[in-house]
């Protein structure tokens, strides 16, 4: 099976080969975009990400076999521009009434849904760079090395940003644990 790098190399001669890159990673980019901006905008963001990738594929570093981090990095930049004020977007999410966690079958998801306002609050307190990195790793399921490639920063910086995100979440969730269940939230 050809690697992404080989296909991208081939697409420099025959652009039609690039369609295979979309077949392999279109779903992953669309999923990440959906989680960040909702289904309506996600389709356009994903399309734009692949159009930009097609345009810039000559600059792709063929030493990297998988193109997924590169594509997610492009999508992340588009999303950052799309959400001119990301904090407002997160506030909107937090403001929506909490889903009834009791109606969710998966107990881990039910717990996570109860904690959502606290998680959003913790994310809002991070710097924009820390938040973007944390959300890229959390929502696109990238390794630290892949996230570093996607953003174009050293892997140590990714580690520090994720560490700060974890600490902030832990700090906030300690408050959550301290709230009695009957409290209206």
């Amino acid at each position: 099976v050809a690697t992404d790098a080989e296909i991208i190399g081939r697409s420099l001669e025959d652009p039609r080969a690039f369609g295979e890159i979309f077949e392999r990673h279109g779903d992953a980019v669309l999923s990440y975009a959906r989680r960040r901006v909702g289904p309506a905008a996600a389709e356009d963001i994903t399309a734009q990400a692949f159009l930009i990738a097609l345009e810039r594929r000559a600059r792709y570093d063929l030493a990297f076999e998988s193109a997924r981090p590169w594509l997610l990095g492009i999508a992340m930049n588009l999303i950052r521009h799309h959400l001119r004020d990301h904090a407002q977007h997160l506030r909107m999410l937090a403001r929506a009434s909490a889903p009834v966690a009791e109606q969710v079958d998966d107990p881990d998801r039910a717990d996570a849904l109860r904690m959502r306002p606290w998680i959003v609050e913790a994310l809002l307190e991070l710097s924009a760079h820390d938040r973007e990195t944390f959300l890229l790793v959390a929502l696109a399921d990238l390794t630290y090395e892949e996230a570093a490639r996607a953003i174009g920063i050293p892997v140590g910086t990714v580690r520090s940003r994720i560490h700060r995100g974890r600490m902030k979440l832990r700090e906030r969730l300690r408050l959550f644990e301290a709230i009695p269940e009957e409290t209206d939230r």
């Binding site: 652009p15 039609r16 690039f18 369609g19 979309f22 279109g26 779903d27 669309l30 959906r34 989680r35 909702g38 289904p39 309506a40 905008a41 996600a42 994903t46 399309a47 734009q48 159009l51 930009i52 097609l54 345009e55 492009i74 588009l78 004020d85 904090a87 407002q88 909107m92 999410l93 937090a94 403001r95 929506a96 009434s97 889903p99 109606q103 881990d108 717990d111 996570a112 849904l113 109860r114 904690m115 959502r116 306002p117 998680i119 609050e121 994310l123 307190e125 924009a128 944390f134 959300l135 959390a138 929502l139 994720i162 995100g165 974890r166 979440l169 832990r170 969730l173 959550f176 644990e177």
Partner: protein
């Protein structure tokens, strides 16, 4: 008391913010639509890569020459040279205009009115995500300190559902509060955060600047000179652009393919100016300038129908001016938005 599982914070965030998997059919359709757009771009590129014919057959050359003579004799306008001339005239004015100087403890206050779509996303009690659009008119004020930090204040002048369908989705999602006229959001930003771009760091060589714009190194957008033109408009809207950068932006615009001089036009606030436009496959961007000061009055985006005709206005920003002030408002306290919302 709810016992928190010892769940990894990244996993927890994914579960809390990740939406439910969409209907597989809906997902397949979305992917198919994206693939269609990508295939169209691939075909365009294949067409571009075909070697051009080096010699024009003599008869065709003769017809072309006669055609040119007739057009010149009739005095028909050639859009691009006229547009380029006007942009270079504006570049010369911009190069000689002095920008505002922000001293220590001072802020550059920039004001604008904006109109466009604002996407809203909610999760209902089942965890299903709903998305709908509002058409909003905003008053936007930004206070920039000399170090690039500042305060951003947005006031909603109006907010309506973009369509009846959007209203129905909102009701389905649980009719949560949405922004309405009179709402206000004040946020602080650190240097380098949010919409801030350090304009003083942009190249003043028009060739390099245009290359950076086309490569998406300044603002990342879909490829195409119409998108570059919009970026130039957004950068020229900033009152703190150094004169040399403003001049280079005008010169870069003069080098784009397909810019037309539209002549006199009024901006969305009714101010008269000189308009230049470029049309892409789905959108048309128009920039309106004060012909005397070369200041951008407004940028507007229209939808383009599949037959190439210009459709309704989609978004606009009208720049209302800038001034140096010695204070900025206090931002809203960090955390979750207003209670009861």
């Amino acid at each position: 008391m709810t016992q928190m599982n010892p769940m990894d914070e990244l996993d927890l965030t994914r579960r809390a913010l990740g939406d439910e998997e969409p209907d597989p059919r809906e997902r397949r359709q979305a992917l198919a639509r994206i693939r269609t757009r990508l295939d169209a771009a691939i075909e365009t590129e294949r067409f571009r890569r075909r070697p051009a014919r080096r010699l024009v057959p003599p008869i065709a050359a003769a017809i072309l020459a006669i055609g040119l003579v007739v057009l010149i004799a009739l005095g028909l306008p050639f859009g691009r040279p006229a547009a380029a001339d006007e942009l270079r005239r504006l570049a010369a004015i911009a190069a000689g205009a002095r920008g505002p100087v922000v001293g220590p403890g001072e802020f550059l206050l920039m004001r604008s009115e904006e109109f466009g779509l604002q996407g809203q996303t909610y999760l209902d009690e089942r965890g299903i995500q709903f998305a709908f659009n509002l058409t909003v008119r905003l008053r936007v004020e930004t206070w920039f300190a000399a170090d690039g930090s500042g305060v951003h204040r947005t006031r909603w002048l109006s907010a309506d559902f973009a369509s009846e369908r959007d209203r129905r989705v909102w009701i389905e999602a649980g009719s949560h509060p949405v922004p309405e006229a009179g709402d206000e959001l004040v946020e602080r930003f650190a240097p380098g955060e949010g919409r801030w771009i350090d304009l003083s760091a942009l190249p003043t060589s028009p060739g390099r600047l245009l290359a950076d714009l086309r490569a998406g190194r300044i603002i990342e957008r879909a490829p195409g000179d119409d998108q570059v033109f919009l970026t130039i408009g957004e950068l020229l809207a900033r009152a703190d652009a150094p004169p040399a950068v403003r001049a280079a932006l005008f010169e870069a615009a003069a080098r784009l393919d397909g810019v037309e001089l539209m002549g006199e036009d009024a901006d969305p606030l009714g101010r008269e100016g000189v308009a230049l436009a470029i049309q892409g496959t789905t959108r048309r961007t128009e920039l309106i300038f004060d012909p005397d000061s070369a200041r951008l009055l407004a940028h507007e985006t229209y939808l383009v129908r599949s037959d190439g005709s210009v459709g309704p206005i989609f978004a606009w920003t009208a720049v209302q001016g800038a001034s140096v002030v010695d204070s900025a408002p206090e931002p809203d306290p960090p955390g979750i938005g207003s209670p009861g919302g």
